[in-house]
């Protein structure tokens, strides 16, 4: 009888322990997963230091301006930015160009408008209210011009991309607020080209080898090379620098309210902390002396 009660007592603990061990084994299996994946050919992007990361993250205005320049001089040859209105370039929380500069910039673009009084469509210079015109009139034209590959619109590309974070990664992200997986991926992709594919890798004609693109074959030829653009602020235009700048710019285009969100969030957090503290003491005081 004594034996039995003892067993009854320890049994639940034992099962729980067995469960925990099983969980730990599985977690370890999950841990080793990214390592296995990397031998498959596609590498995991490295985490970069972004000025817009973290609770107090802000965009670096100069970087956004440089990124805008890279987009305009390089990426826009194939990629659109159709969700970005010129007016937003002068709004707070973005590149914050002066309105006059943005007007000039917008006027450099031809916007299709119409129909006019004769029923014809016509081109006119862009104004603040217009959006970056897409490079191609439609997806089919884009594919036809690019060897069958479709250059995606870049407006929200940094939110529409990411990479597999693996087990401890995604769990820790919940607490660190890591939201830059898309930016890290875009930066890695832009800097991840290899002129010669590894031996034994069959690269289809017209494709390029990239460490970070799924399947390692990408239709986009290496878009950046050193000194491709000339920065007005004297920053040295290395491939890595340009990749970082344009990625930061594309993070802003994807999330133009990021700064407003984080600033308001901080204020709200302080307020809720205050209120929950007060409610804690109110509850404590109310229940003081009440047996429960």
């Amino acid at each position: 009888m004594i034996m039995r009660t003892k067993l009854m007592k320890t049994f639940p603990k034992r099962i729980a322990a067995a469960g925990l061990i099983a969980g730990a084994v599985l977690a370890a299996g999950a841990l080793s997963q990214p390592a296995m994946a990397s031998t498959g050919g596609v590498s995991t992007p490295h985490m970069q230091k972004w000025s817009f990361g973290g609770v107090f993250g802000r965009f670096d205005r100069a970087q956004l301006k440089r990124g805008l320049q890279v987009y305009r001089e390089v990426c826009s040859a194939c990629h659109g930015l159709k969700r970005v209105a010129f007016r937003t370039l002068s709004q707070p929380g973005g590149p914050e160009l002066s309105e006059d500069v943005v007007k000039e910039l917008a006027a450099e673009y031809e916007i299709k408008d119409g129909p006019d009084d004769e029923g014809e469509m016509y081109d006119r210079p862009g104004t603040l209210k217009d959006y970056f015109p897409s490079t191609y009139p439609n997806d089919k034209a884009a594919r036809a011009a690019n060897n069958g590959a479709l250059p995606p619109d870049l407006s929200i590309i940094t939110k529409a991309r990411g990479y597999h974070r693996g087990f401890p990664g995604w769990f820790l992200d919940l607490f660190t607020g890591y939201q830059e997986a898309g930016a890290d991926y875009v930066h890695a992709l832009l800097t991840g080209y290899e002129e010669e594919p590894p031996e034994g890798f069959h690269l289809v004609d017209g494709m390029s080898y990239n460490h970070y693109f799924g399947g390692n074959q990408i239709g986009m030829p290496p878009p950046l090379s050193d000194e491709l653009v000339e920065y007005e602020d004297g920053t040295k235009a290395t491939v890595d620098q340009m990749a970082k700048d344009v990625t930061a710019f594309l993070m802003w285009t994807a999330e133009p309210t990021l700064e407003q969100r984080k600033r308001l969030g901080f204020q709200v957090f302080l307020f809720v902390l205050l209120l929950s503290g007060m409610l804690y003491f109110t509850t404590k005081r109310l229940w003081h002396g009440v047996k429960h």
Partner: protein
């Protein structure tokens, strides 16, 4: 049942009104004087938290509907428009999308609390079953809402979930076409899903009222599982639990706002920022995190119909729970063996969730099958057998006795 002050209006106008429609008295009896066990712990605050999130979802949802356009060519653009151009649109959208996650987080805690303390056992069977209905409706609302932004994940979630019904022989195909309003997921599907997404929360609201009603008929369970026997066992709901619940809600807001302001897309999937494309399926389609355990069960079965039936069965088994647990004691505090199995079940549920997020191949399939088998074994074998044979530890005579014992004033209990 009362024992606490009832509502007696002194104001003449209030009295005149009360004699004709006693709504204030009802509110007073339900949310002010309502006798509530004095020993409820913080796990009991999740009912209030859930009600708060229901309101948040309804308010932000009604607002989003003012700016959202349920058209296949405009849905994605209008969602982006909300995020970019509408005043505080980004805030309202992130409140709504993360609110859904918080709603489910809170409901899972609420359900597991019910499982642990035996809140499903008599006389609370109907209360529990209404709760299961609410949970199913929540899942429907969550799924329908996820489709609306019309990104890649939205589109393929709609395709995959509606295709579940094609598993049924003969009637399957016609049902799926009827759901779609076409031969594939398209404009009619999106438009009706928008309408349903507005309808389901109304049903939800009705069932929540029934849930609260049923609760107020039978009263709260409590950590001891011992029924309320005398007035001493209870406290009036207000101010004791209104204040405590408020504190819990505001504290929970910290988690919510962490996601909304600093981590708004963590619980979503990047692919849903790619507009829907009927010709390309994303390489890994995964549902939102709160569906993952059921998704794992669906995929664990190599047979299409079998998987669908098992998945729905995993929900249905919850509804018959009151008749599977035959123990005399409610709370697992007094059932050490069952308590151990409860925690294994909790680990199993989390494990299923994790497996649901993994690709359906290799070791994951095997593990999914084992975890699924255990899920059903827990309810259909372990629970009935253990509850029949385990002798519960002695329980306190009353709630007050338990409270006094805890505070070391056992003598007072006798006086």
């Amino acid at each position: 049942m009362s024992g606490h002050a009832s509502f007696e209006p002194t104001n003449k106008i209030v009295k005149w009104f009360e004699d004709r429609l006693p709504v204030l008295g009802l509110a007073h009896a339900s949310f002010v004087a309502f006798p509530t066990p004095r020993n409820l712990n913080y796990w009991w605050t999740f009912g209030g938290i859930l009600f708060f999130f229901l309101l948040v979802q309804i308010i932000t949802g009604i607002i989003l509907a003012m700016h959202y356009v349920p058209h296949e060519a405009l849905a994605f653009d209008s969602t982006e428009h909300i995020l970019r151009d509408v005043n505080y649109g980004w805030l309202l959208r992130y409140l709504h999308s993360n609110g859904a996650s918080m709603f489910f987080l809170a409901v899972y805690i609420h359900i597991f609390r019910g499982l642990y303390y035996g809140s499903f056992k008599g006389p609370r069977e109907i209360l529990w079953i209404i709760g299961v209905v609410i949970y199913v409706l929540m899942m429907a609302a969550g799924f329908l809402g996820y489709v609306l932004p019309w990104g890649q994940m939205s589109f393929w979630a709609a395709t995959v979930i509606t295709n579940l019904f094609s598993a049924f022989p003969i009637v399957g195909e016609p049902i799926v076409q009827w759901l779609w309003g076409g031969f594939s997921v398209g404009q009619p599907t999106l438009n009706r899903f928008f309408s349903f997404h507005y309808l389901v929360p109304l049903l939800l609201y009705v069932f929540v009222i029934l849930h609260v009603w049923a609760l107020h008929v039978v009263g709260n369970n409590n950590p001891t599982g011992v029924s309320v026997k005398k007035d001493q066992d209870t406290l009036p709901f207000h101010p004791y639990y209104t204040i405590k619940d408020s504190y819990a809600i505001v504290a929970f807001l910290l988690i919510y706002f962490w996601f909304v302001f600093f981590n708004p897309n963590q619980l979503g999937h990047p692919d849903n920022y790619i507009p829907a494309d009927a010709l390309v399926t994303p390489p890994h389609i995964v549902p939102e995190w709160y569906f993952l355990p059921f998704y794992a069960i669906l995929r664990a079965v190599p047979d299409k119909l079998g998987g669908v039936l098992l998945m729905f069965g995993a929900l249905a088994v919850l509804a018959v729970l009151p008749w599977l647990d035959r123990s005399k004691a409610r709370s697992l505090t007094y059932r050490p063996l069952m308590k151990g199995f409860f925690w294994i079940f909790a680990v199993d549920a989390v494990l299923l969730g994790w497996l649901g997020s993994q690709p359906a191949e290799g070791i994951f399939v095997t593990l999914s099958r084992l975890a699924t088998a255990y899920y059903f074994a827990h309810f259909l074998i372990i629970l009935p057998l253990v509850s029949k044979f385990e002798v519960p530890r002695p329980r306190p005579a009353s709630i007050m006795d338990a409270v006094l014992e805890k505070s070391g004033d056992a003598d007072e209990a006798k006086s």
